[in-house]
Symmetry: C2
Subunit: 354 residues, 2 copies
């Protein structure tokens, strides 16, 4: 296992936080125009925030899910009957876990904090849950810094980088996964410009990644998703594409925001390295290949929203899979806090994850 | 040269027309919500309409350009001094020709009608110009029907098809190029569904192609551009991707709406045939390869418009090339009214174009 000094970078904003008994979420639906925070005092609010993309990004929804369990535990303590309390808590766990299906970090985090309950959900158990949630949050911050250092080591000098969706402060507890690598490589003066793909239909690239680049002073040129291949052909200093992940199968297949697969194919065609950056909590070793990863279908309404007043009066038949699967063969390396998995394969994944 | 019975399909709407001394344009910026027509009595109005995408699509702007020359000729006849008249007319020709740089059909059509002037721009010359413009319009209708027949012969039974941008009634004088092929293959019951890519940033796929499919009763599922590759992997009945063209170089390289290149790479990766459908007026045999085709850069504002009220307050660095070039090696065949060029190469292009 390679070791690296973690990046000293810090997040400029907190997508998820815990403050005085509340889970505080930056409302990402309102970015880049408005920076408003939502104080969630009930776990149902967090579940709703996850479903509506108020908070999004696999590691961030993991942390939010863990805090939601802490809120659920507090609520359930008010139920005196122990078996009713336990049933209510189980229901809450299921509801939180299943708020979104693809990112495995959510289920991973909920399972991890729930294990701390022990025999009975009592005041002590609730304290342990909150402690574990804080631990997941702190670990993610460190993971991000380690990923940034490992990732930046792969970026050559004088690079420009294409990235996809949002994988920065807004998607994690810390400085981000893929965008964390970009920030660190920029700090080390290896990267001069980033090309965020806008990321249709929810525009996480246009709304969130540009906002983070702006906050971090990193030069950027926003592009439509469909322009990435043409940019790879035109701009010879684009030396890498880097993305995050929502779930990684045991063989290194990666589920990530829809469009990742197309970007990986384009990178392969241009012989540009294609990197995935994600914490080890994004690996789902029980899932053998990407074919078994559940893909969330979201409302087709997300597509036509972009037309505003000009939306059609006829019913718009459309499909909206929120994620796609990139096979390991298209991925140059997966970067996690434990090291660099290159090339991704069942053997190499288990070697690094231990 | 293969011969085929042209498709009997007719357009359901006219993007460009000539009525009582005016060039009448369907205002495509307002689609799909509103069907309004713009009556242009001065050539400058047509130039403006071409620049603002009120009328778009390579063959349609060719026809509009030809009618604009007819309007310019009428205007210039009011100038008594012959050399001043001639200078004014030359200026108008230049202005019309250069309204948009990439689609060669515009320059081709303007040159073709201008040739009919002869020695002096007089009343007779103006009549010949209008006659030639009508001729270009009528020819395009026939071209479309021939392309549809040739193209449909390439589509296997039980197909679903991916298409890009808008290449139907709204982009041509007739039933369209690539979308004309889809309509004809649907009429022949070879195609059961079309997947229009939305086509960022101007959304010609979302706004125009879905509208045409709806009008023609063709089942469709709108997708984001970034989903096409994932659909090719997921849906085994997608047996072709077909697009139009704005300019085709002598070697078969194709300039078309940005995103075409990425779609062609994805089709290659999935071993799905990738077809280009365009009239012979879209070929520019003076241009050796795609590298020499001028690519229009449009305002970056086109990208952020999709955010509506939620646009950022910081300056959004973005780039907006309106077209890209797909190398001949990624194209299975180019379909024009004279036959099928397969595989596209300098030799095969000149064989079919004669």
């Amino acid at each position: 296992m390679n070791t690296f000094t973690p990046s000293p970078l810090q997040p400029v904003v907190h997508a998820v936080n815990w403050r005085e008994g509340s889970c505080v979420l930056l409302d990402q639906r309102k970015l880049p125009r408005e920076e408003t925070y939502l104080e969630c005092r009930a776990y149902e609010q967090v579940v709703d925030a996850i479903k509506t993309l108020t908070v999004r990004g696999a590691p961030a929804i993991g942390i939010a899910g863990a805090y939601a369990v802490a809120l659920a535990a507090e609520e359930c303590l008010r139920i005196d009957n122990l078996s009713a309390r336990s049933r209510a808590f189980e229901n809450a766990l299921n509801e939180i876990s299943s708020a979104r299906p693809t990112a495995v970090n959510l289920k991973w985090a909920v399972d991890r904090v729930a294990k701390r309950v022990g025999d009975n959900l009592d005041v002590r158990a609730a304290e342990r849950i909150l402690e574990e949630a804080h631990c997941i949050h702190r670990e993610d911050i460190l993971c991000n810094q380690q990923i940034a250092a490992f990732g930046a080591s792969l970026i050559p000098a004088d690079s420009e980088i294409i990235t996809y969706c949002n994988t920065g402060d807004l998607a994690t507890g810390g400085i981000g996964t893929a965008l964390g690598v970009v920030k660190e490589a920029y700090r080390l003066r290896k990267v001069s410009r980033v090309y965020p793909c806008e990321t249709r239909p929810v525009m996480q690239g246009m709304r969130l990644t540009t906002w983070e680049c702006q906050r971090n002073g990193i030069p950027f040129s926003l592009i439509c998703d469909n322009m990435a291949a043409a940019m790879m052909r035109r701009i010879k200093t684009i030396r890498a594409a880097i993305v995050g992940a929502d779930r990684i199968a045991a063989n290194g297949d990666v589920a990530n925001k829809v469009g990742t697969y197309a970007l990986a194919i384009a990178a392969k065609y241009h012989e540009i390295p294609f990197y995935v950056a994600a914490p080890s909590s994004t690996f789902d070793l029980q899932t053998e290949t990407g074919a078994f990863i559940p893909i969330e279908d979201r409302s087709p309404e997300e597509l036509v929203q972009a037309l505003g007043e000009n939306r059609p009066s006829f019913p718009m038949g459309s499909i909206n899979p929120s994620f796609d699967v990139t096979p390991a063969e298209l991925i140059t390396a997966i970067i996690c806090e434990k090291g660099i998995i290159s090339p991704p394969s069942k053997e190499n994944v288990s070697k690094i994850l231990g």
